[in-house]
């Protein structure tokens, strides 16, 4: 059981190649972190996994628990168990958070079957309590007028509610103060499970103080260039990414 990425190449519509052969295996039960400098392709990887149409996979495979999901649409991938927590989630004016999450859950039910509203709200409120979210969140429009911290918490709330098999968190720590980061980390840690794999994409080691990864990878120029244990993150924090410029590695 794993989210497996094999030799994945992806380009922009203009032909610029961003991912240049990424291979990564995220077994259920593990948390993997990808670090790397700006422009290394980390966020692109998350979008390609989610099925974003702006990136064209040119070769390689993505399999989810053995099923090739490369041909699935964005919403099909979500329903198959992929969840992407956005660095900059979109605002959806006029659609309340409660209705939005409900529509997402509804999409997972067979046609004609309706969500039990009472049970839904009970569940939603419990998860909001975990993330220390005010009840008013339910009636506010999705991400509209939200602070950076509120948006990130909202991403985690959606993730918990949708209960995905594999979570990809893109720069979830960026723009958060330490209190907000702790709350977000609490939510993510509550999701740790032997049945679920997670991929944390981050620029800063700080996040990994609160969410302990099993493996750390370094991405540079569209490839994974180094992999190691949690100690690799500390090393990067200390030494920076200058080693990437050393000719031996860059080649």
């Amino acid at each position: 059981m794993s989210l497996h990425i094999q030799e994945l190449h992806a380009s922009l519509e203009n032909g610029t190649e961003i991912l240049k052969g990424v291979t990564l295996d995220i077994p259920a039960g593990e948390i993997h972190a990808i670090m790397g400098p700006n422009g290394s392709g980390k966020s692109t990887l998350s979008k390609v996994l989610a099925g974003h149409k702006g990136y064209i996979p040119t070769s390689g495979t993505i399999t989810l628990d053995g099923q090739d999901i490369s041909e699935l649409s964005i919403d099909q991938r979500s329903r198959a168990g992929i969840f992407l927590a956005f660095q900059y989630p979109a605002e959806v004016p006029g659609v309340s958070n409660a209705n939005f999450i409900r529509a997402a859950l509804q999409s997972r039910l067979p046609k004609g079957q309706e969500i039990d509203a009472v049970a839904y709200y009970k569940n939603l409120y419990a998860k909001m309590d975990l993330l220390e979210m005010d009840r008013k969140f339910t009636s506010r429009a999705v991400n509209e007028g939200f602070s950076g911290g509120e948006k990130k918490r909202n991403e985690i709330l959606q993730m918990i509610m949708l209960d995905p098999k594999y979570c990809i968190l893109d720069e979830t720590d960026s723009g958060l103060d330490i209190d907000a980061l702790k709350i977000v980390a609490k939510g993510v840690n509550a999701m740790r499970s032997a049945n679920r794999g997670m991929l944390l994409i981050t620029h800063y080691q700080r996040l990994l103080d609160y969410i302990k990864p099993d493996h750390v990878h370094v991405m540079s120029d569209g490839r994974i260039v180094r992999s190691g244990g949690p100690e690799l993150a500390l090393e990067l924090e200390e030494k920076g990414y200058d080693f990437l410029k050393e000719p031996a590695l860059a080649s």
């Binding site: 964005i74 919403d75 989630p89 959806v92 006029g94 949708l162």
Partner: protein, 419 residues
């Protein structure tokens, strides 16, 4: 109308008929009809055949709106067929024909006092000359009505109706009126020329909601005239989901100092539907406030026209006036025309106006799809949310729910093919 009509009213109708006959039909080049589709003004094909038999009891049971309106009226081709009311006895809330008999002076004081300035003077005259009935509401001083008066206007057969709503609020009074325009069947072309006259007394509050859900072969002209006395607060809302063509002319005249008018509209045209909306925010007095928000969601080959003017008169210092028209283009074939305007003749004025047209962004769709929502449903949710922003300004849950019911019916009628 019956023989009991007061003399003044008969005289008004006669002179209105003359005015109708002598006023020229709008033509190309008239600023107030810029971008308009003139062939829609050819009413010759409305045959005015006698209406077919209608199952009145069935119609009354179809006239559902709020769960508990404070009063409810049902009109079929301008004839009252049902009414019920739990209004206090000193409120006057009567079919206009009855009010003309029982409260002639009061009606005369307020009936169609403003000049129709937004282009349809001819059709206002036709309305005045032809109207047979409507609703007259008078809320006495200090009376606050909780809840809404709900009026259902049904159009049956190839005919023209002239629904009229005249609302007068006394000092410190409060009321909400909901007019709902519908066709008895989906295939018979009709015409509705409606007029609503809202006269707000000092420090009173009046919410007026018009729901236009006529069948898609019927045309409508709706003229709204609002005048506010000192510190009064008017809120007008128009929903357009039906009709092949609808022209709305909304004029808010802020007569009294400190008064306020919110002008709201949601239109969701599809297929070949056309909505032509003209507005005027006329600030007469000092310290007045107006805020207009019109939102159009266009599908298919539909078309909208918005032309709005904020006019700040010489005495209207310290005016705040805002005007926003936003168009959401759901297809490449729809067309939204916006002509915002501003004329300021006073000092210390805050005004803004603007219009935007946009499509749903790919990033928004991407976001919803990553939550498992399919692209068609995602577009529908976003489009509904776009309308909800204006609906929420009604700030009354049962009314919002009712308006959203009509919006949702429209979205489901548009369906997957155009979504």
């Amino acid at each position: 109308m019956t023989a009991t009509l007061p003399a003044w009213f008969k005289a008004r109708q006669q002179s209105a008929l003359q005015r109708y006959e002598t006023t020229t039909t709008p033509k190309r080049g008239d600023e107030q009809w810029r971008f308009s589709n003139f062939k829609q003004l050819d009413f010759a094909n409305v045959s005015n055949k006698p209406a077919p038999e209608v199952d009145v009891a069935g119609l009354v049971s179809r006239s559902t709106g709020l769960e508990t309106p404070v009063a409810k009226f049902v009109f079929l081709n301008d004839s009252p067929v049902f009414s019920e009311s739990s209004l206090p006895t000193d409120v006057i809330c009567l079919p206009l024909a009855e009010a003309l008999a029982s409260h002639s002076d009061l009606v005369a004081q307020h009936f169609m006092r403003q000049e129709t300035r937004l282009g349809s003077a001819k059709y206002a005259a036709l309305h005045e000359a032809s109207l047979k009935n409507g609703l007259f509401v008078h809320i006495p001083d200090g009376m606050e009505i909780e809840g809404s008066i709900e009026v259902h206007h049904w159009l049956s057969g190839e005919t023209t109706i002239f629904p009229h709503t005249l609302v007068v609020t006394g000092r410190n009074a409060k009321v909400r009126i909901i007019d709902c325009f519908r066709s008895v069947d989906e295939t018979t072309p009709g015409l509705a020329i409606a007029f609503n006259d809202l006269c707000l007394g000092e420090n009173s509050q009046l919410d007026y909601i018009a729901i236009q859900a006529l069948n898609e072969v019927t045309r409508m002209i709706q003229i709204n005239e609002t005048s506010t006395d000192r510190d009064a607060r008017a809120k007008g809302f128009i929903l357009n989901t039906g009709a092949s063509w609808a022209r709305n002319e909304s004029l808010s005249r802020l007569d009294g100092p400190g008064s306020r008018s919110d002008m709201l509209s949601v239109s969701i045209p599809a297929r070949e539907q056309e909505y032509d909306q003209r507005t005027l925010q006329h600030h007469v007095s000092e310290g007045t406030y107006s805020d207009l928000l019109y939102k159009n969601t266009l599908y298919g080959h539909s078309r909208t026209i918005f032309s709005g003017l904020i006019f700040v008169g010489e005495k209207a210092h310290h005016t705040d006036a805002y005007q926003t028209c936003r168009n959401l283009l759901m297809t490449d074939d729809c067309e939204a025309n916006s002509m915002p305007g501003l004329e300021i003749n006073a000092d210390q004025v805050k005004c803004s106006h603007g219009s935007t047209s946009s499509q749903i962004s790919d990033e928004e769709i991407f976001y919803l799809c990553t939550r498992g929502i399919d692209p068609t449903r995602a577009r529908q949710l976003i489009a509904r949310g776009f309308s909800v922003e204006a609906v929420e300004r009604l700030a009354d849950e049962p009314t919002e729910k009712l308006v959203l019911k009509f919006i949702d019916e429209k979205f489901s009628a548009i369906g997957v093919s155009e979504g």
